[in-house]
Symmetry: C2
Amino acid sequence: MRGRDEGPMTKPAPTAEQDRRRLPPQERRAQIVDAAVSFFADEGLDGNTRDLAKRLGVTQSLIFKYFDNKQALLEAVYAHVYLDRISPDWSDLLRDRSRTLRDRMITFYSEYGDRIFDYAWMRIFMFSGLAGADLNRRYLTHLSQTLLLPMLDEIRHEVGRDDAVTPEDLWSLHGGIVYIGIRKHIYKMPVPADPLPEIVRVIDRFLASIGHGPAH
Amino acid sequence: MRGRDEGPMTKPAPTAEQDRRRLPPQERRAQIVDAAVSFFADEGLDGNTRDLAKRLGVTQSLIFKYFDNKQALLEAVYAHVYLDRISPDWSDLLRDRSRTLRDRMITFYSEYGDRIFDYAWMRIFMFSGLAGADLNRRYLTHLSQTLLLPMLDEIRHEVGRDDAVTPEDLWSLHGGIVYIGIRKHIYKMPVPADPLPEIVRVIDRFLASIGHGPAH
DNA sequence: CCCGCAAGTGATCGCATGATCAATAAGCGG
DNA sequence: CCGCTTATTGATCATGCGATCACTTGCGGG
């Protein structure tokens, strides 16, 4: 059994680079991880390796040449998906008092939204959360420590009163924004194509409610 | 193999009703569904029927005497879990202009929270959402039509301006509250034991931001 | 041009899981 | 107390899936 086209005298016809049969290991490995991210995002973490192989156009056994077992593949998927999801700049951005608080929060959540309103990310995060992966708790703890709590400090500093806002308040703000992505990618509900206007509205409502309208 | 206790002359020892071997079909069926709800909430929708049977203390084959196949069992689980999750009273409650808007919203979200901040509900809702079940979209559409849009009307009526608040704004409010349950039951993060105070704060912030403080 | 390394394949193993069915025994009516 | 109905069991089948391995073949270096 060969690829396609049984016509005589037809060369392998390398229409493009992607038809190449043999790839350098590093490249193939990356290709498998990429496909696995998209595949497990669709099918869930117990999607089977035969279907994944089918998507890749290779045999199932090849996957196990690059990963000792499925768990190792999943860990590569996690690493690929969780990597660089939180920018190291955001912590400083949020503390940069040369900019208005509103400006900082909008910039942060705008950039954060760009990174997390992503089909594969949202779904794999949710799948691994449901599976009880510790990764999620570590991610959220890190998010809280490096971003939400600094944001809390800045808000309290701006308002001048510490009792005006609590960590839970910031989780609610955060949830209101993240929920846009959940509705879109988990529940497949219609949401605005561009989430930025709603992000701005949520932040403005939040600031207005603690006495800091857009004017500030 | 018998229950426990190999001592001589010990009767079947019906310590309680629950040790009974044979149950009336209706009762056994309900028992299976109950256990399945809790089981699939823990393990995900592809938890296996042998482990479920183990929890029930019956054989795996018995489950298939009550349900033609696993899919039928899952549908019974959905029906049991989705049933009565939205009270028919809430729609009227939200429109009851003899009460303040704040009071109505707090009452609604307090009662709503009581019903959805539930381990099995949250997880099965999320599992079925990820699996692409249409049930979730129907549930959320229903929620929007019967509760969020009426709430929107009431808010607009109260504020006197229609452009002060959009449907998306209400989804963000909703998300901010629901996210408490997601953090607790999906991500297993620490959250306040009683969510009510935070619910009140979220609603008060929302109302304050559109010029309707707690005083109104 | 062709040799040899290793990327890729195909067949297969063992186990888990959904589903089936004949055999068993619990418990009720008489 | 007996016998019948049927709830429940235990054994078994078929299939799907992770994993392994001997082999084949693409392809770069000499």
